[in-house]
Symmetry: C2
Subunit: 328 residues, 2 copies
């Protein structure tokens, strides 16, 4: 099978398609260390994360035969909801293979969107195998969460919107984009969307395989026994050649943030933005607040999702602040 490469033209096409069905997600401007930074609140999308973008671009590219047979996806939650949301909107069946320990709000929301949910045991079963078998049995199309040119292009549409919103807000076009990274779909889409910006990917400590891969020049997986992380959305153990190559070709670098830095970012978002950001959605903000990415003019920070249980969120906010969260 020849895999097509995701392109900037594809990102622009995705942005145009998504603009027909959704208003731009809000962009907020706040100062950090005296620098105005733009925050793209993908957490305010209808299903709480950017994932509906890639799903919409992929599903709308299916022909009528494929649509009738439906789609299958495996996901810890946000991609599940994105695919379920797009499938519901297009009236096609969706089956989601989801870990049995996925956050309650993500599972419930996926069911509420009308998808069929198949649970698997993260420790003993392979979601890839289960999903592939389901897709085979039903003749359904498997929608990967990042290793897919349409999905990458769709995710990049957030940055197309943000660039327009930044200019409208009196800021420069994005010169620097700081992006949460699991498999790299959002990050590589952002890189394609913003050909003139430097891209920094941010991962939780111990899960910074994209950072290490970009440093090494080849794909390195997450190590054995990675540390626990609250970032359920970023627990990807290996990035894909598609996402890696887009980022590597752009000289992208990465940073890793600690769990405490992520909690500090979630607190900051509560007080300064009045937004609920899930742990994985807050890593880019965490990197800026922790001083691991220096605030700079024309900086765009993507807040990629907001799906979290109220209980988990309250616990994150209560984590002891071990350092000054904001440099300013």
């Amino acid at each position: 099978m020849i895999v097509r490469q995701p392109t900037r033209a594809g990102v622009r096409d995705a942005a145009a398609k998504i603009a027909q069905i959704l208003p731009p997600s809000p962009l907020f401007v706040r100062e950090i260390s005296g620098v105005s930074i733009a925050f793209k609140a993908e957490s305010l999308q209808p299903m709480g994360a950017f994932k509906l973008r890639g799903a919409w671009h992929r599903l709308t590219a299916l022909d009528s035969n494929a649509r009738r047979r439906g789609v299958v996806a495996f996901s810890s939650g946000n991609h599940a909801q994105g695919v379920a949301w797009a499938a519901k909107r297009l009236g096609l069946p969706a089956v989601i293979v989801m870990p049995a320990d996925a956050p309650r709000v993500k599972r419930d929301a996926t069911l509420a969107l009308g998808a069929e949910v198949v649970a698997y045991d993260r420790a003993t079963e392979s979601r890839e195998t289960i999903a592939a078998e389901l897709a085979e049995a039903r003749g359904a199309v498997l929608v990967p969460s990042f290793d897919d040119p349409w999905v990458i292009e769709g995710q990049g549409s957030a940055a197309i919107e943000a660039a327009k919103q930044m200019v409208e807000a009196g800021l420069p076009e994005p010169l620097h984009a700081v992006v949460p990274c699991g498999g790299g779909g959002l990050a590589s889409g952002t890189a394609l969307a913003l050909p003139d910006a430097t891209i920094t990917v941010v991962e939780p400590e111990g899960w910074d395989d994209m950072r290490r891969s970009l440093d090494a020049g080849w794909i390195e997986p997450v190590g054995d026994n990675p540390p626990p992380t609250a970032c359920d959305a970023l627990q990807t153990t290996r990035v894909s050649p598609l996402t890696f190559e887009v980022l590597a070709n752009r000289g992208t670098t990465g940073v890793a943030v600690s769990e405490a830095e992520i909690c500090a970012a979630q607190r900051w978002a509560v007080e300064k933005l009045h937004l609920v950001i899930e742990p994985g959605g807050a890593v880019a903000l965490a990197a800026v607040l922790a001083g691991k990415v220096a605030p700079a003019a024309g900086m765009l920070v993507i807040l990629s999702g907001g799906n979290t249980d109220a209980e988990s969120f309250a616990r994150a906010l209560a984590v002891e602040d071990t350092r000054i969260a904001e440099p300013a």
Copy 2:
């Protein structure tokens, strides 16, 4: 002094003025008990609450002499920030008289907006007297938080925006508006903005003086020793003839919600809207979720503010849920 009455024309004028400087605050649609309800997220305004609307309408109505001498306001927080925000934007001096125990985020944010903050002791000092003396000494204009026709008209602009957004979202124009109520500025402005809608005001239990006043047909103050409430923004002990008469003339009724119902609403907003709503900003949502206001087609619920310490917010989310929060 002849006090002019706030008018619907004034509300429309305010809405036009505010549209020149701010995008509409986001409107979100969610189902409750199977009914699509519109939520106006005033918590996402630059200073985290609707209060900049009234302040902007009032301050832009001042002549150049008055602007030079500046403004004085007394407020527990959100009105302070609203006046400070508008004053900063217009380049005029602002002094805010604020209780010494106001939430830290509200005090810090007011200072960050360049206002001078004068603290007073809620138990022993009169903020009205302090503010009047400051205004007299400086020749500055006192900007009341609700007892003022411009302020009322300005607050009403949120509903003008929301009506347009509801139609754009495929909903009917607002038939029912459910509105948090302290002094009644937002509620009376909403009533003027939406002449065909029924208005329900919502207050915390024990602070439901507007509800009792509307029932009685005359203004009744909050009783002695009202219960503690997390709604620092709604601790108004007496409504004003201006706000009362607008609402009474419309046959408005009110309901009161418990502190536990407010916490349940804050949790719901975290999980379903990914928004941080302060206690006083969540009372209208709380009334709907608790079944005290029946969900109905064309219902607009105003989420009036989001200014809360992360610590207080975490505590609110952790409050035991003593009842099913959502009827559906």
